[in-house]
Symmetry: C2
Subunit: 341 residues, 2 copies
């Protein structure tokens, strides 16, 4: 590996001059800069990020913290899409992305914060994780720039999907299609779930719909078996709903299976809708009615704000950034206005 020292020797200048030439500092002549750069190319010089990081305390490396309850990790569709967008955005500014080692199984494992410090991340993005975890709190309360996805800490920038509006839009849409008996199988407790459930109730109330307790059920996110069971329970009610909302698209398919197993058709006999807008949902029949979360935008805004926070900490406003989702109509909600009651 050719270092600045080699380069300096080849150019007959000092190492300092080489450094300044490559970093385009003002106190080195244009002529010298040109010469150093040419020689650098010639010798195949490339900087050493470790040395640079050591000296400057800036790694140009961003950490991603992601642990899923279901351990689905990178295969979590929502997260994968957000992360992909995040990555593309930071790469434009020459940052790299390192996945924070989350293993607690090996000897000498560190906390998230320790690991972030160890690696010298300039910033960390936290997503889809148990935000009550003491280690996460420790990281959030540290002085490392952090943005969180879909969870708000009052001292940190958060990029969150507008679950309140999303759920309102969804319920309003379903209502507009004539449904009055709407059940909601929601995910297990989390801030996202809370926002959606509360918005569900509020919207129903505003629309004058009464929601019997037995229409509210819980199922883990992305768990088709549970939604299958809960759906069966809903169908067994003496007064079953005409439309069922699911925690997410993936889990929704569990419900669809249950419904079909009962010999019911979607949407003719019963309507369903979900949340997320995963890609495959638009490619299989029936096309699932859902709220498509704008993962592209979420990732992009998270990236842009994290970088702003890193590079201009003082002028960056700490606040939640809300990204709206969009209703994807699909074909799983029937318009029952057209039918005589």
């Amino acid at each position: 590996m050719v270092s600045m020292k080699d380069l300096a020797a080849a150019c007959n200048v000092s190492v300092a001059t080489v450094s300044k030439a490559l970093n385009d500092q003002h106190d080195v002549s244009a002529k010298t800069k040109e010469m150093v750069r040419k020689k650098a190319k010639e010798l195949g010089y490339f900087p050493n990020s470790a040395a640079k990081a050591l000296k400057t305390n800036r790694s140009h490396n961003i950490g991603v913290l992601f642990v899923d309850e279901a351990q689905s990790g990178l295969t979590h569709d929502f997260f994968a899409n957000v992360l992909d967008s995040f990555k593309r955005t930071i790469e434009l500014q020459d940052y790299d992305l390192t996945l924070v080692n989350c293993s607690k199984e090996h000897h000498g494992s560190m906390t998230y914060l320790e690991r972030a410090r160890y690696r010298g991340f300039d910033g960390v993005v936290i997503a889809c994780i148990d935000f009550k975890d003491p280690e996460v709190i420790e990281l959030v309360d540290s002085n490392i720039p952090v943005v969180t996805i879909d969870y708000i800490f009052n001292n940190r920038i958060a990029v969150i999907s507008d679950n309140v509006k999303g759920m309102r839009d969804l319920v309003t849409y379903v209502y507009g299609m004539g449904h009055r008996k709407i059940a909601y199988i929601h995910g297990n407790d989390s801030s996202v779930t809370q926002a959606r459930v509360s918005s569900f109730y509020t919207t129903c109330t505003q629309l004058g719909i009464e929601v019997p307790d037995e229409y509210l059920k819980v199922a883990d996110y992305r768990n088709t078996e549970e939604t299958y069971q809960r759906t069966m329970e809903l169908l067994d009610l003496s007064d079953p709903p005409t439309c069922i909302l699911y925690p997410d698209d993936f889990a929704g398919f569990g419900g669809i299976n249950a419904i079909r197993e009962r010999g019911l058709r979607i949407p003719e006999d019963i309507s369903v809708a979900a949340y997320d807008g995963i890609r495959i949902g638009r490619h299989i029949e029936p096309k699932l009615t859902t709220i498509r979360q704008d993962t592209e935008q979420i990732g992009k805004l998270a990236a842009e704000n994290l970088i702003k926070l890193i590079e201009h900490p003082r002028s960056t406003i700490i606040r939640p950034i809300v990204v709206e989702g969009e209703l994807y109509e699909g074909s799983t909600v029937k318009d029952i206005n057209k039918v005589a009651e």
Copy 2:
């Protein structure tokens, strides 16, 4: 940040002794080691990976190179699963994972090799990429430890899915179900496609099936529109197939849509099968018959072999490692033996 210097001062020993104590070297007494470690905990000391990397030329950081033709990036199901397994495996050995910046859009972008050197990756795993790309070749021909996924370079360890056996199993299964008119919409040219297509032909020949040219079609991987079109073409044939194989599960759904749009039932009227075994395929109806690739094993073996290559370069055998897939029967291939011909 508390450094070794601080720690040394607090312990009344030299920095060297601290370093050696923490690294469990032999030439420091048990008593001192104990004392240094205790003090380290007390002061909240943690090492600095940049300094360590600079000195030792080992970063304990592994790079992932992944560029998809379709730019699906991290959302590519097969890759996401492999990577997730890979990550879990290397984390057990205290490595971190950095996604190689693939952007070519910003100023001063480096080649993959340059970036790998810049970051000091101990090794790189390459997957799902255009392996003809000169930059990839440059990296593969470098002295950085590399393992490739699903592509064989003769100077590198490769972990590949057994596409030959997979396709043979699939065709044999379909044949066993009585099918003789089997069409194959295969992916666009790549070593994976080549292996599958050639295995498809070989198996058919061995089974005594003739495959008319019009039964072979091309569609991009994961492209439902294309498979939709190709499927329509197959259905329009004067002598249409009784079973259609698809490039991958995702693309398979495009075919399913086409078939259903024609008012045909799966598998009663026509059978379909695909390749990959993505998770959702087991959760939606009809359950797609497919070859489930063992992404868990592929990721794990790639990780284990890369680490072996990094840590014991001499004793590591450079060869392709083949991971077998497994037939997932699903319910999209009808047994037409039971029906009178």
